[in-house]
């Protein structure tokens, strides 16, 4: 049962089509598990339709229509029912099976889906083995997580499949996978993870040596 949902503003911006694609991706994965938010997005899209109709009409040259007709002659109409569109399908054609996970900590693994050529964000799957605990950490930027399999808990609550969680940078947490099942999450991180435990803090002292001035400036804001 999905308990944690995107905020109303996020759903509004999603329906309006003006959120970043990574956030849209996380919302659309959540929607696959959450009938309640699907209904909400449907209503918000209806609102979009209503607003669109309130716009004034802008005259269009009729010649445009001829051009449109030329183009439709070249396209094939799509079938009535589209095959199930899995937003993660491009990265995970075989679902969550047989991925080559990269070990990050004792029971913590990562499978990177996408990192930018420039910039510091990261889109990845994270796995904590059943019953495992991740190190205490925070983030230099926002982290968006959607649970894909199993579940985890931290100081703030318990999260099951489909749950959508946004944590901002100054939030430290220590996720623990539920017993019996490995927990796999889709995670989008605006910026790298920041370790905050006793050992982590010691390691973090060295990170600053590698961060650019710009990064440091953006952290302090």
């Amino acid at each position: 049962m999905v308990q944690h949902h995107p905020s109303d503003d996020t759903l509004v911006e999603y329906a309006a089509g003006n959120i970043k694609s990574h956030l849209a991706l996380c919302v659309s994965v959540h929607l696959q598990h959450c009938p309640q938010c699907r209904t909400q997005v449907q209503k918000l899209s209806t609102l979009g339709g209503a607003l669109l109709e309130t716009l004034p009409c802008e005259a269009i040259d009729d010649a445009i229509f001829d051009r449109i007709l030329e183009r439709v002659d070249l396209v094939h109409p799509e079938p009535a029912v589209k095959e199930d569109a899995n937003p993660l399908g491009a990265w995970l054609p075989d679902g969550l099976a047989d991925l080559s996970w990269r070990k990050q900590w004792f029971k913590l693994y990562e499978y990177v889906l996408e990192v930018p050529k420039q910039g510091r964000w990261r889109l990845a799957l994270q796995k904590i083995s059943a019953g495992g605990i991740a190190p205490v950490h925070g983030h230099y930027g926002r982290e968006v997580t959607v649970v894909l399999q199993g579940g985890f808990s931290d100081e703030m609550g318990v999260y099951d499949v489909g749950d959508f969680v946004i944590r901002d940078g100054n939030h430290n947490h220590r996720p623990r996978a539920l017993e019996n099942t490995d927990c796999i999450c889709l995670a989008y991180m605006e910026a790298p993870v920041r370790l905050t435990g006793p050992v982590g803090r010691w390691l973090e002292r060295f990170r600053d040596m590698f961060l650019s001035q710009e990064d440091l400036a953006s952290q302090s804001t």
């Binding site: 089509g17 997005v41 209503a50 569109a85």
Partner: protein
């Protein structure tokens, strides 16, 4: 049965008295949602006359939307994109799942996002096809086409009843491609104020929605 449902829907809106038509039969859905039969004609028999009427009725709105979105120089291109997508996807339109206006909005929104991507106006984006991210609307349990149509119409009318400051903020988010944060910056209001205006507006509109 459809009719009893309608009776449940309508008393929730103060506008019901001014629209006695809504009490009538499901055939009136076509009057309420006049674009639906046109999309269906395109789907069923690739009807070019219906397609032209869609272009004449809806095209000017697409252009207006593009201009609001700050895409003046690409406005007619967006009109073309949207129309071609309507043609391509007409069979996916199902009036028991969404009203024509909702469906057309989703097609238009997706075409706009696609175009912005092609123009490289967005940065730091993950590479995934837009249609996967913003799927076309479809409800889990199909409701009557009439209900969808009436609901769209009521929503449109309820918009007129919103206080101007609330309506304004909602319009900026939906039609001007602005996040809550950007609207706040533009209006020089705290983000919290913008969010609460949107929430208030949605609550007012939801009053109708929730009890349907």
């Amino acid at each position: 049965m459809v009719k009893t449902n309608n009776v449940v829907v309508l008393p929730l809106s103060r506008t019901m008295d001014s629209h006695p038509k809504a009490h009538q039969t499901a055939e009136d859905a076509a009057k309420v949602d006049h674009l639906a039969p046109l999309i269906e004609a395109v789907a069923q028999r690739q009807d070019r006359a219906a397609f032209r009427r869609l272009f004449q009725d809806f095209g000017p709105k697409i252009k207006s939307y593009a201009i609001k979105q700050g895409m003046l120089e690409y406005a007619e291109e967006l009109v073309q994109e949207v129309m071609v997508n309507i043609w391509r996807r007409a069979r996916q339109f199902d009036r028991s799942k969404a009203s024509a206006s909702t469906w057309l909005f989703a097609i238009t929104r997706n075409a706009r996002i696609d175009m912005l991507r092609k123009l490289n106006r967005v940065s730091g984006e993950v590479h995934v096809e837009n249609d996967f991210l913003w799927s076309l609307p479809g409800e889990d349990e199909p409701t009557s086409a009439f209900q969808h149509a009436v609901y769209s119409k009521l929503l449109r009318e309820s918009l007129d009843e919103l206080p101007i400051d609330q309506r304004d903020v909602i319009a900026k988010v939906y039609l001007e491609d602005k996040s809550h944060q950007r609207v706040a910056n533009e209006l020089e209001l705290p983000l919290g104020t913008v969010k609460s205006r949107v929430r208030l507006a949605l609550q007012k509109l939801k009053v109708i929605l929730q009890e349907v």
